[in-house]
């Protein structure tokens, strides 16, 4: 259950709109279905009253939207940021992607977000979902109400949340949390422990489902190039679904490589993938390697930190030893 209510966020946003601190609000609104929540820009308190939502399906991270939004007006825009979103916020500031002065950031606590795909495995014809303490009441079209444990329906990224603490905000609503010890590398270690043949088969099974919709790239707060390599008409892989295992792997290796050292592990890529490809397992491999080769590094923990890719020491690990490191960890 989220600590803050929709009314609490609405009230604060209305005040800030009223006193002129901001003239727009980045928030969530209902999509096709109640659990199908989508980001939106609200221009008035009335608009917000009508369609603003806050709850267990508000996973969307607004940091990347700030790049376009801060260019649209001289006034500030209000953004509600969950703890993990604030890491992306800092990372974008590190890369000078938007003007900090044009944002009024409100940190809000997060009790984890629910993954509708997990609910779909348990219930058919979902009409809406209500949260009641640690239970979810799923209203279905055919089978009446189904009650589920909320903890079991949490998005993967929330089950291994790395931080309940906000690293950036102008104002904080609710209680501040802490950086937490998370088991987010366990799955990576399991894959490392497989034989090369098993690993290849595992990844082929996952990556061959990719339809190259590019949603993972488009949503990623680290992927903010105006021209992406995958839009290069000479690349042979522009806007097309992969034709063979090479293209599948190339897209995923290069996508993950380009965000390595800048990926905050916000989990947006895996959230939006319509094919449920575990992209976080690629990103986290890089994060795990970076931590083990060059010392622990959390992208976005602070503004202005030097990413591992644009840094070095004379005694860095040799690539041949690097690949062996996985064996020891396994």
């Amino acid at each position: 259950m989220q600590e803050l209510t929709r009314d609490a966020l609405l009230a604060r946003a209305a005040e800030l709109l009223e006193n002129g601190t901001v003239d727009r609000v980045l928030g969530w609104k209902r999509g096709e279905f109640a659990y199908d929540v989508t980001p939106a820009v609200f221009k008035s308190a009335d608009e917000m009253k009508e369609s603003f939502v806050w709850g267990d399906f508000c996973g969307a991270n607004f940091s990347k939207y700030l790049i376009a939004e801060t260019k649209k007006s001289e006034n500030k825009v209000l953004a509600f940021l969950k703890p993990c979103d604030t890491y992306s916020f800092n990372q974008l500031l590190t890369e000078h992607r938007f003007d900090r002065e044009k944002v009024y950031a409100i940190g809000i606590p997060c009790d984890g977000m629910v993954d509708i795909a997990k609910i779909r495995e348990k219930a058919d014809g979902i009409a809406s979902v209500d949260t009641n303490g640690d239970k979810l009441i799923v209203h279905t079209l055919f089978d009446g109400d189904v009650t589920l444990d909320r903890a079991e329906m949490l998005a993967e990224r929330c089950t291994v949340c790395k931080s309940k603490k906000h690293v950036a905000y102008d104002e904080l609503l609710g209680e501040e949390g802490d950086v937490v010890d998370s088991a987010r590398f366990d799955e990576v270690a399991k894959i490392e422990a497989m034989t090369p043949d098993e690993r290849f088969a595992f990844w082929q099974g996952e990556l061959s489902r990719c339809i190259r919709c590019n949603a993972c790239r488009d949503v990623c707060p680290a992927c903010t190039c105006e021209k992406c390599v995958f839009n290069n008409p000479n690349s042979g892989v522009e806007n097309k679904s992969p034709a063979n295992s090479f293209e599948e792997q190339m897209f995923h290796i290069i996508r993950a490589f380009h965000v390595a050292g800048r990926c905050t592990d916000c989990g947006e890529c895996s959230r939006v993938c319509p094919q449920h490809i575990p992209l976080h397992l690629l990103n986290r491999k890089f994060i795990k390697d970076i931590d083990s080769f060059y010392g622990e590094y959390q992208a976005g923990a602070e503004v202005g930190s030097r990413a591992p890719h644009i840094n070095y020491t004379e005694g860095d690990i040799e690539p041949s030893d690097a690949v062996k490191r996985g064996d020891e960890n396994a």
Binding site: P196, M250, S320
Partner: protein
């Protein structure tokens, strides 16, 4: 020594089949792996020259691509080499500390450590990729490195996991 300009290499046009030898799969010859070696102009490329001048032998199927510095090598080049039929890709640069652009090879080292570890994680045989530091004076090391690398790659056989059949003839 066969040289391919790196820009031509990543362009859409197919690299001529002669470049990527037709020996693969030919029936009457033993299998020889096709190796792409990215060599830094200032050291390893000169090292290769020295190996040639000293008549040290290394496999003819090592195709050298000269780059201005090891850090010129974009991860995409490596994947493209595999796509177009390479069985192994090796990257040679100046010894750490000796890069002619001061720090290029330090960045190369970080990038390739991460990239190769990722390839390994995806199940692509780790013996197919290598980084080696070879100076202009190390002709013997160049030849020995290539012989050893070609042998390891030959033991693995053809690259099947990162190939693109459409790019092979």
């Amino acid at each position: 020594m066969h040289e391919i300009n790196s820009n031509e290499f990543i362009s859409k046009e197919k690299v001529s089949t002669e470049t990527f030898s037709a020996e693969i799969n030919s029936e009457n010859k033993p299998y020889k792996p096709l190796i792409v070696a990215f060599c830094c102009n200032w050291c390893s490329y000169a090292g290769a020259d020295l190996a040639g001048n000293n008549r040290l032998s290394y496999p003819a199927d090592v195709k050298i691509i000269r780059v201005p510095c090891s850090c010129r090598v974009n991860p995409m080049f490596i994947l493209r080499a595999f796509q177009r039929g390479a069985d192994g890709v090796i990257l040679c640069g100046c010894h750490p500390g000796d890069c002619h652009y001061t720090s290029g090879n330090y960045y190369t080292r970080r990038r390739m450590a991460l990239l190769f570890s990722m390839l390994d994680y995806l199940g692509i045989e780790r013996e197919r990729t290598r980084v080696e530091w070879v100076s202009a004076a190390e002709g013997a090391k160049f030849a020995a490195t290539m012989n050893d690398f070609a042998e390891k790659v030959a033991a693995l056989g053809e690259n099947k996991r990162l190939e693109d059949l459409r790019c092979k003839n």
